[in-house]
Structures are given as structure tokens and as C-alpha cells.
């Protein structure tokens, strides 16, 4: 038996479209490298970094959009064809891009390991959205994860500003919080969470089959 046949069909379908797949992986890697280079610089847009976990999702949507997917006219009329398919595609693209960037970072080809570091929260948040979607639906799941991320980072920033009363601008504090969330200690926690969420998602995979589920 071809080992490829052991993978679920949706997973085989993601790289099944060669050009969108290559575009998505190369674009997400480029986003990672760019974020790794600009993050921490004085003039970096803190708000852009706050929204950084969304960038791979947007890029994957662009890569597979338009006429890139020949099956799109049918996909649009199926229950799994919207946000859920986009989240799964993004998860697969990130799962490939992350070790790729880590390996090139270690070899000194992609600047630094920061490039891969930026993608770890993206992967974890994408997996969290999928797990939550299996309970409450994709739209609500995506909304809940986005709000939790934004409120969580804002709350930590606010608390940091209170702790250090000499700070007057929120911008450098937000940058520091984001960089702390990405440092190598945090990476371990993000990776642990991603592993647990992958396990949970595997256990919950049949919930999408249930006609009563979202």
C-alpha cells in the first residue's frame, strides 16, 4: 500500500494543489523571516505584531483563493468548505513551514530562529481554533480565540505598565510583551500547548461528522 494512502484525504488535498501549496508555504516562510527581522526594532509597528498570528491565515486564503482551487465552485457549497478548510490548510502549511524555518535558522540561512518563533503561536492559535470549532462552530471558535489573544496581550501590557509607573507609552511595553511571548522559554510552552491541542483535535475529529455538531 502506498504510505500516502494512510493520510486522511483532506490532508492529501492540501499539497494536492501544487502551485497554491508552494505559494502558501513560501509566503508563510517569508512572513516568518520578515517578522523575525523587524520584531524588536524601535520603529516596528506594535499593532502589526499584535495581529501577526493572523498573517499566515490571510496568506493561505490568498494562495488557495480565486481560481487556484479547481474544485472551489463545489467546495463553496459544502459545510466544511469555508473557514474550517482554511484553518486546516493553514495548520498544515504552518506545520511544514515551522520546522523548515527552524532548520534553516539553525543552519544560519534564514537569519535567526526568530523567524520560526513567530510561527509557533500562529500554529497553536490555529489548532486552538479548530479544537474550539469542534464544540461551538468555526466562526464562534475563531472569534473566541482572536478575542482571547487580543485581550490577553492587552491585559499583560496594561499590567506591565502599572508595574512600571515610569513608562508613559504603551508601544514599547507591548513590543516587550510580544517579544517575551516569543522567547525561547515561551516557545516551549507554545509547543507543549500545540502538542496537546493536536492530540485533542485527533480525539475530536469525528465531532465534525456528527450531524448535530457545528
Amino acid at each position: 500500500m502506498n504510505p500516502r494512502q494512510l493520510l486522511p484525504v483532506w490532508l492529501r488535498a492540501v499539497p494536492g494543489l501544487r502551485w497554491p501549496w508552494l505559494l502558501a508555504v513560501s509566503g508563510v516562510c517569508a512572513v516568518g523571516v520578515w517578522l523575525g527581522r523587524v520584531a524588536g526594532q524601535e520603529d516596528t509597528l506594535a499593532l502589526l505584531l499584535l495581529l501577526a498570528p493572523l498573517l499566515p491565515l490571510v496568506w493561505v486564503a490568498v494562495s488557495y483563493g480565486g481560481k487556484a482551487d479547481p474544485f472551489a465552485p463545489v467546495v463553496r457549497t459544502t459545510p466544511a468548505g469555508g473557514l474550517r478548510l482554511l484553518l486546516l490548510r493553514t495548520g498544515v502549511v504552518l506545520a511544514i513551514s515551522l520546522p523548515l524555518l527552524a532548520a534553516t535558522g539553525l543552519a544560519g540561512l534564514s537569519g535567526s530562529l526568530w523567524a520560526a518563533a513567530w510561527l509557533m503561536p500562529c500554529l497553536t492559535l490555529t489548532l486552538a481554533t479548530l479544537v474550539l470549532s469542534s464544540y461551538i462552530g468555526c466562526l464562534l471558535g475563531a472569534g473566541a480565540v482572536a478575542v482571547t489573544w487580543l485581550l490577553g496581550v492587552s491585559a499583560i501590557t496594561r499590567l506591565s505598565m502599572r508595574a512600571d509607573r515610569q513608562v508613559t507609552s504603551w508601544r514599547p511595553v507591548l513590543l516587550k510583551v510580544l517579544m517575551d511571548l516569543l522567547d525561547f522559554g515561551s516557545q516551549f510552552l507554545w509547543a507543549l500547548a500545540a502538542g496537546a491541542l493536536t492530540l485533542l483535535l485527533t480525539l475530536r475529529r469525528e465531532s465534525f461528522d456528527d450531524l448535530r455538531s457545528r
Partner: protein, 236 residues
């Protein structure tokens, strides 16, 4: 099972379907009309690919404008668009299995359903062949199989006989007749022989407006398709 009231479909400033009223029960319904008459636009709306600009639509007793009801409609829907390309590197089995997954079919029942759908379109012998290695007619049959895989209650086919040889057309007609007892089938076509082969009723569109709705005998009594299209008054 399909109820449309004053449904209007627009593409930017062009009105593709204009104030359409339609009541379609179980059975096979032919959608006839010249090119640009609004057949594909109407099917796309019935397939929930896009929403109507105006009017009310109910499919299988549900409102497609509501997300939860739309999802239930989509689980019970089979749709073959006019151009239906699938993944060229996939086998026939993978193409249809992917459609089954997209339609939320349980994994445990997906496998047998895929084989049954492929068998119904006469491609069992080629189930493990690559999609790209098939002829145009066979690729069209894979498209029909993906539409059938979830045993749809609403089946929408846009020119399904394109590229099929006469024998395959007859087989498709027989298949649609079999489905007519339990399924609402709407088939857009420009071939009268498709309508004669399997349809219980006919809807004729021209310039986005309904020109005729009734049985094939009634269409003949009204002077035939060409007459209805050329100068027939709207018959609602």
C-alpha cells in the same frame, strides 16, 4: 421542497434572474433556456454558493440565509457545476472521498458510499486510476459521482451530459429517474433529449425570466420550446 418567491440574482449591475417564483417537489426538473438565460446563476443560488439579491428562498424546508440551516442544506446537497475540475493528481476514489469529507460524511460510512457513487456512474473499474488519465466524459462522470456521494436530497446538475456518449446519457437518465422518488433533482440543460429522457417537469428561462413551467406535454401543447422562447407569453 424548493420554494422561491420573487428571487432575483444579480452579478454586479446585470440581473441574471429576475423575480422568479418556483415551487419544485420531488422529481426531476429540467431547466431549459438559451445561453445567458440565467440557468447557471439560478443553480448557483439553489446550491447556496451565493445568495439572492432579493426575494425569499426555502430549500428542503430550510432558510439558506441562516447559517445553521444553510449548513444542514449543504449536508443534503449534491452540486455539479457547469465546469467541474477536480485534483488532477488524485485517483477517482480520492476525488469522491474528498467530496464526501467536505460534505461532513462520517468516516466509517464514507468508504462504502464512495464506492457506491463511483459504481452508479459506471467507473468502478477505474476507481484507482488518476483523474488526469481519464477522458473528458469520464471526468464528467467523476463530477456526477461526487455530487451523488452523500445521497443528496437536493441534486443540482448543470449540463451533466456534456461530454457523455449516448449510452452514458441514457444511463444517467435512468439513474435520475431512480432518484426522482426521494430527491429533488434540477438539471440545467440545453438538450431537449435530456428533458425527454428523464424529466417530470420543465422550467424555461429566457433573459432571467421564467417563460414556462409545466410538464413536457404542456410544453408541447404550448407550441414547443422554440415557440415559447421565441414569442410565447410568460406562463406562470
Amino acid at each position: 421542497m424548493i420554494s422561491a418567491r420573487r428571487v432575483t440574482v444579480r452579478h454586479r449591475r446585470t440581473t441574471a434572474v429576475d423575480s422568479l417564483y418556483l415551487e419544485l417537489p420531488h422529481g426531476v426538473h429540467g431547466l431549459l433556456g438559451p445561453n445567458g438565460s440565467g440557468k447557471s446563476s439560478l443553480l448557483a443560488v439553489l446550491a447556496t454558493a451565493t445568495g439572492p439579491a432579493e426575494g425569499e428562498l426555502r430549500l428542503l424546508g430550510r432558510d439558506p440565509a441562516r447559517p445553521a440551516e444553510r449548513r444542514e442544506i449543504r449536508r443534503r446537497l449534491g452540486y455539479l457545476p457547469q465546469k467541474c475540475e477536480m485534483f488532477r493528481g488524485f485517483t477517482v476514489r480520492e476525488c469522491v472521498a474528498y467530496a464526501a469529507w467536505l460534505k461532513d460524511m462520517p468516516t466509517r460510512t464514507g468508504g462504502p458510499a464512495v464506492e457506491r457513487a463511483v459504481e452508479r456512474v459506471g467507473l468502478s473499474a477505474r476507481i484507482d486510476k488518476k483523474y488526469r488519465s481519464l477522458s473528458g466524459g469520464m471526468q464528467r462522470r467523476v463530477g456526477i459521482a461526487q455530487a451523488l456521494v452523500n445521497r443528496p436530497e437536493l441534486l443540482l446538475l448543470d449540463e451533466p451530459t456534456n461530454g457523455l456518449d449516448p449510452e452514458q446519457r441514457d444511463q444517467l437518465h435512468l439513474l435520475l429517474k431512480e432518484l426522482s422518488a426521494t430527491t429533488v433533482v434540477v438539471m440545467a440543460t440545453h438538450l431537449l433529449e435530456d428533458v425527454e429522457g428523464c424529466c417530470n417537469s420543465v422550467v424555461v428561462l429566457k433573459d432571467g425570466r421564467k417563460r414556462f413551467a409545466g410538464s413536457l406535454d404542456e410544453l408541447r401543447s404550448a407550441g414547443g420550446y422554440a415557440r415559447v422562447i421565441a414569442d410565447g407569453p410568460d406562463r406562470l
